[in-house]
Amino acid sequence: MPVAIDQWYQRRQKDAEGDFYRQIASQGPRHNFENGTTQGLYMASADGTSLGYTNNRTPERVKEMLQQAMLQFRPAATAQINIEREDPRYNLAPPAGGLIVRVQARVMGGYEETEDAMKQIFQTALSRDNLWVSRAEHTSLAAGRFPKSLAHRIARFHLVDNTRGEPPMWRDSEIATSSFEINGTVVKGHAELSTASGDRRYSVDLLGELQTEAGKVIAWNMVASGKFAGDGRYTRGAPPGEFPLAISFTLADGNDIADAIPPQGSRGWLKGYLP
């Protein structure tokens, strides 16, 4: 039964899900649940007995781990764990009456050619995050006004290069400009983002269209396209100098399992992400 998680949540959760995840992870090599990552690929029985672990993601090693785990697996009657209470700090729900927008980025050029298969994956990766829009912001959009709070959230948390890993978000002080406007069905914008030193920066234009019906947004497609420079602690390996980074925004329809995932920028700081 395949499950995909950001273990930052589960290793902290004080509820049945957190307990069960830590039971499995504690049998592997990574069990510093307070300060260390427990990332990797795990196989386990439904009673929480570990069957295998690897953090190597090459197909050969993953396949080997899966095969070894299946050799150990013995089907047995196991009780289902009931979800009686969820730790509210780590179970975030999208804003009622708001919107979920899919945000996907790709570096459009600038990499030096490589024969390294893993580098090739990162260099061509299409990232995925979700933008949450509050009920009040949704109402404002439907009335033809682009809220400043939303313009700020897009700039700070979604105009980032997350194609090679977890990106550094922009600080308030690093947002020089973030302006959006709606004219009929057209949405356009511009943002200038830069660290104080200028070692990471993004100058970007945005253009899209937004369709409303009966006071609700029913379609929103938008693209950000501009020149990015720099990387972060977990996104090393960016192209040298300035490179083209494009980001798409698409109103989610709820048909993709990833639509339910909280924005990366809200992790541990929902009030900061969505005041």
């Binding site: 499950v3 273990q7 289902q80 057209v186 511009h190 899209g208």
Partner: protein, 81 residues
């Protein structure tokens, strides 16, 4: 289906946006990039019926006598990168 319908409608009835384009981003470029920046429906990992709750997966695994495969990352594997 929704997206296809919307684009069909948009191309026919919504006012052209070229006149209101951002500085270096034309309507044509917007449409090209937006289409390009969508996930491939053929990507094998997207065909896996992922769960996003460990306990949801545990309940099904227990009921069906199957093991759990947990893809645990820093940043969500189905989001982030």
């Amino acid at each position: 289906m929704f997206r296809t319908n919307f684009f069909t409608i948009a191309l026919v009835t919504i006012c052209p946006i070229a006149a209101a384009q951002a500085a270096d981003l034309t309507e044509k470029e917007f449409r090209r990039l937006h289409a390009e920046l969508q996930p491939s429906k053929d990507a094998l990992w997207r065909t896996v019926p992922w769960k996003t709750s460990v306990l949801d997966a545990q309940q099904i695994a227990a009921k069906q006598n199957k093991p759990l495969f947990i893809w645990a990352m820093d940043g969500h594997p189905l989001g982030c990168t």
